[in-house]
Symmetry: D2
Subunit: 153 residues, 4 copies
Amino acid sequence: MFNYELEHILSFVGKGGGTPEAIGALPDGLRVNFQNIGGEVTGPRIRGKVRPTGGDWVTVRKDGVAILDARITLETDDHALILVTYPGIVDFGLDGYERFQRGELPPVARIRTSPRFFTSHPEYVWLNRLHCLGIGEYTPAARTASYEVYAVR
Amino acid sequence: MFNYELEHILSFVGKGGGTPEAIGALPDGLRVNFQNIGGEVTGPRIRGKVRPTGGDWVTVRKDGVAILDARITLETDDHALILVTYPGIVDFGLDGYERFQRGELPPVARIRTSPRFFTSHPEYVWLNRLHCLGIGEYTPAARTASYEVYAVR
Amino acid sequence: MFNYELEHILSFVGKGGGTPEAIGALPDGLRVNFQNIGGEVTGPRIRGKVRPTGGDWVTVRKDGVAILDARITLETDDHALILVTYPGIVDFGLDGYERFQRGELPPVARIRTSPRFFTSHPEYVWLNRLHCLGIGEYTPAARTASYEVYAVR
Amino acid sequence: MFNYELEHILSFVGKGGGTPEAIGALPDGLRVNFQNIGGEVTGPRIRGKVRPTGGDWVTVRKDGVAILDARITLETDDHALILVTYPGIVDFGLDGYERFQRGELPPVARIRTSPRFFTSHPEYVWLNRLHCLGIGEYTPAARTASYEVYAVR
């Protein structure tokens, strides 16, 4: 087996705002857009906030698997802007589509993502080189998604 | 030659808000995120507003060609939500990268896009079936992008 | 209304080979992969062949609309390589999903695409700057797709 | 910290064929297309081959980071077809762009990917629900890429 290591590089919390845009039932799944209104980011080499821009354009497939398509921007305490994009998956279970449609979300949903970072700030360009794994949880009641991001070495 | 027709189906205006997020010079181009704060949509079979969500995640390549990656949401007067996503291109000219970097945008920039629509509202599901062409203009001073969208029949 | 022009820049024919890979009925639609085995390209400023690589990864949605995701490579008579990628749409009609599943394809299907070109050959870098419209037809019996590509000026 | 587990679900080897299509130096990086001509897949619940279709459309950015965009198809011994798509990253080092351009590849390159699976075969639909991590190596001399794929639980 090939060796690899997961190194925790940062954690961030994103808070949703307004009512999510329920585009509704389409041929490829339920579409709903979650708008981001802020949050914070922390880590051994980074500290700052999540800007109140971007969001997550989600498709919940008929098999109960939600496909994420997110774009957010981090702003560090030393004023670097860092774009973060990520595909990801939430498995709401075999009846997840029907439950999501009825508004029955679990208290906590497990999120798995693959974030990619884009920045020109010299202090953070090391982020541009990483393939990452995001381990997260979404808490519908608090409209909050929390992620821990690992570099896959 | 194959026959085809372009049918104008709608026009929309999107207004940018706040300062665009200048992610800066990355290996694949200048990245800047434009946040959408509203607008309006009109057409023979549609009338409403552009919701103050989404935006355009732009990469200006070294050859002066900007690659667009936009997501906005329309809300019709009869309360349908319609997600619109589009890749697109703005050709800022051979020295467009350097000019963009210096903040020297032309008074008006020509935008060409391929919008795709996503809605579950029965009155508008015909939009889901279309391959479209978007002809637009961006006016930096007004922070406004205007588009006319044609169905390619 | 904004002015625009469509300029025919090239036409190409792609021929499919082998049996398409029928991935089958998934939650977001029928998936089938068409493998490209060759073809030719002609135009006022270009002449050559379609290399026997790449293909089209198609999803036929439940509403009968097929979403294309194609990658092919052109090789010009003066030995330039040009990568072409395109999303696109084929509307097989409201019962298109069921008919496609039964193998009942129409004799000719209308294809609409948005090709993008990638080349480093100085004679063809003008292609990199274009937003294009592809007007095509697929003939299942001949396993052949023909396209006329227009630059959207 | 959130709990998670990585479960090895399968390994596959893909073998490249022909000369890779060197599209060359574009504004966003060096583009080269690797064609897949076969391989094999093994795992606790799966055994079969990699079909001789698809490939990897790679962009090596100026910072020496290669961005992968791969599509391959698995065919199991019990005749299921499984489409696999993955973005991924290879970090060739700070001078990786220049070295890649000169054809100086390292003997072995570390690949990190995020595979997604698509199949309709009842025995394998569990794969559709997974967010995965791919740990791999590319050996240029052998034109072979080997991957171990983990489900991120």
